[in-house]
Amino acid sequence: MDELAYSSRMVNWAPLGKLLFVMCLLVVGLLTDSILVPIITFTIGIIMMAYSTNLKLPLLILVAIGEAILIMVLGSGMISILGDHSQPALWEDTFLWFNIYMTEQSFNTAWLIFFRAIAGVTLMLAFASSTPIPLLSFALKSLRIPNEIIELIVLIYRYAFLLLERFLVMIDAAQCRLGYNGSLTAMKSYAGAMAGTFIFSMELAEKSEAALACRNYNGTFPIFREPAKMSIIWVIISFGLAVGLYFLGQYTGDLVNFAKIFAPLFGWDI
């Protein structure tokens, strides 16, 4: 992700400004019941992500986004079929031991939660794909977050990649020795690589502590090129947009009704 962030067109934007902007949009999406607001924040998130990455997302991240959306679809689907029994059902059925009871409200709530969730994902990804961890940690320091926590974030982030690299080397090494010859052997190989990576992490921690000491590490990671500072423009834009969206949400609560939109398709009588 850092690699992506360093090549982002938004890398030189103030990390704290971006964080404030994203947080404002996320919070306002939660404060209003209008589905229009999360749809707008989701759109903003998508646009920011596209601008940040120039629409060049690595396959691994695309798969991760796809997986997250799939989980949200499943979660929202569950919410939609667990409606309040005091309300009229749009769809009522029994599947094995499971009672399906979908109401207009549960269906709309599911859509609201779905859009809130994917708006969160796109906004956070827009932020993460344009903000390298060292710059973020530096920005967090100005928020008076304890140094220990920040250094832990940086170290974990740094070593996660090394361990992943090591794991992949072990997987390749296993492949060279027919480690995937049969499903049982493949499982054993993966398990071995995971255990090996864990043991290596302990060894690496010990060696890295010594190496850090040799480089005069005194508890904080200094930054060579400091990120841009958050200007007042960021505050104005973030809060202005949040307030605007909040009021928009107040007056458009019933404007979009997904149950009514899908009613002709499923023959629901609303």
Partner: protein, 376 residues
């Protein structure tokens, strides 16, 4: 030379371990010396380095830094580590930042240097290891060899008084290895005490004045390398091998009934000793700084065509990138070998290497070959 480090009966056992990794070790490191620390895997070399930097505190014995015992306090260790830089065997253990330049700047910033000074040091260190084009690249994108260079740059940027290099050439291609040895020599000429541990015995034999041989946590031998390599049983017991140059000299001398001394340490000395050279080729040595190297090149080369040219040192190599240079690496040895063979050559070198060039000519003289050398 005064002593910079002294170990007196030092023993160290890793926590939870039973074997003494350092076992009553006694060792003295002289200031400004070229030291090779040699030993088989597991002999205790890396542990020795960590002991010298105060990372490991020995359970027995004392480590002296400039004649005073190391103080294992926060301030004491900070002072010690401000003077001592370490290049670890595995660069991944010492690289902590995401970007190349960030990592090189890590040490200088920890020393409390300002941004301007740090930026200068970072630029210089990256250029010395030929990594300038990679300054803004994430480290994950680099190969193992490139990471090694970044690790070396990180140590160089500290401007240390003592440089400890643990297997600095491991994982590097031969050209990069030569550059590392050039850097080690440059540091030595700048007055830095350089300690190198390596398994590349041929490269280190060329360079080191003193070899300290570690075997099972003890110092088996300290002194000029020939004294150790002349005892094959001890060499074998210590898990080492003799360098090719030493072997060839010993064997040819045995065949011809000659005295193996003086010992040739590189190609030009070997050729001078055994090649029956007639008349020396002329070697024009041009010491230059980065700024004036292109002008000196033009001036010297306008009257010389077809003469082989070589560069020695990163500054001149960088400055003469777009010039027609025949020998980019190991040029000093190759130009002097050319001279022994009767060929003329021009050697452009960083001005700081002047004593090394002179030392090489003196060594050839001791072997009995008077090189026709002109220094510009």
């Amino acid at each position: 030379m005064s002593e910079i480090f002294r170990l007196e009966d030092v023993s160290f056992t890793h926590p939870g371990g039973t074997r003494k990794v350092l076992n009553n070790m006694n060792l003295t490191i002289e200031e400004g010396s070229r030291n090779a620390i040699l030993g088989a895997n597991g002999a205790g070399k890396t542990t020795l380095f960590y002991t010298l930097t105060g990372v490991y505190k020995p359970q027995e014995g004392t480590v002296y830094d400039h004649g005073a015992p190391i103080e294992y306090t926060k301030d004491g260790l900070r002072n010690l580590r401000s003077d001592v830089a370490v290049i670890l065997q595995n660069p991944d253990e010492q690289i902590f930042c995401s970007l190349v330049e960030e990592d090189v700047a890590f040490g200088p910033l920890n020393l409390g240097l300002d941004k301007e000074e740090t930026a200068q040091r970072v630029a210089k260190a990256l250029r010395d290891v030929r990594m300038t084009p990679f300054a803004r690249r994430p480290l994950q994108q680099l190969s193992g060899g490139q990471r090694k260079r970044v690790a070396i740059a990180g140590a160089l940027a500290m401007n240390p008084k003592i440089m400890i290099m643990d297997e600095p050439t491991a994982g590097l291609d031969p050209q990069a290895s030569m550059e590392v040895m050039e850097l080690a020599e440059k540091l030595h000429l700048q007055g830095v005490t350089v300690l190198i541990s390596t398994h590349d015995i041929d490269i280190i034999y060329k360079w080191a004045d003193t070899s300290d041989i570690i075997c099972d946590g003890r110092i088996e031998y300290s002194g000029p390398a020939e004294g150790f390599y002349s005892d094959p049983e001890t060499v074998y017991r210590c898990g080492l091998l003799t360098p090719s140059m030493f072997n060839m000299n010993r064997d040819i001398c045995a065949l011809d009934g000659m005295d193996p001394a003086p010992y040739p340490r590189n190609s030009c000395e070997f050729t001078a000793k055994f090649g029956n050279p007639k008349k020396s080729g002329r070697i024009i040595c041009v010491g230059a700084e980065e700024e004036d190297a292109p002008a000196k090149y033009e001036e010297v080369m306008k009257d010389l065509s077809g003469v082989q040219t070589g560069v020695y040192g990163s500054d001149v190599r960088y400055a003469l990138t777009d010039k027609n240079i025949d020998i980019q690496f190991d040029a000093m040895d190759m130009c002097f070998t050319g001279a022994v063979e009767g060929k003329d050559s021009v050697l452009f070198y960083d001005a700081i290497y002047a004593p090394t060039i002179k030392e090489q000519a003196d060594r050839l003289r001791k072997i009995g070959f008077d090189v026709d050398m002109e220094v510009i």
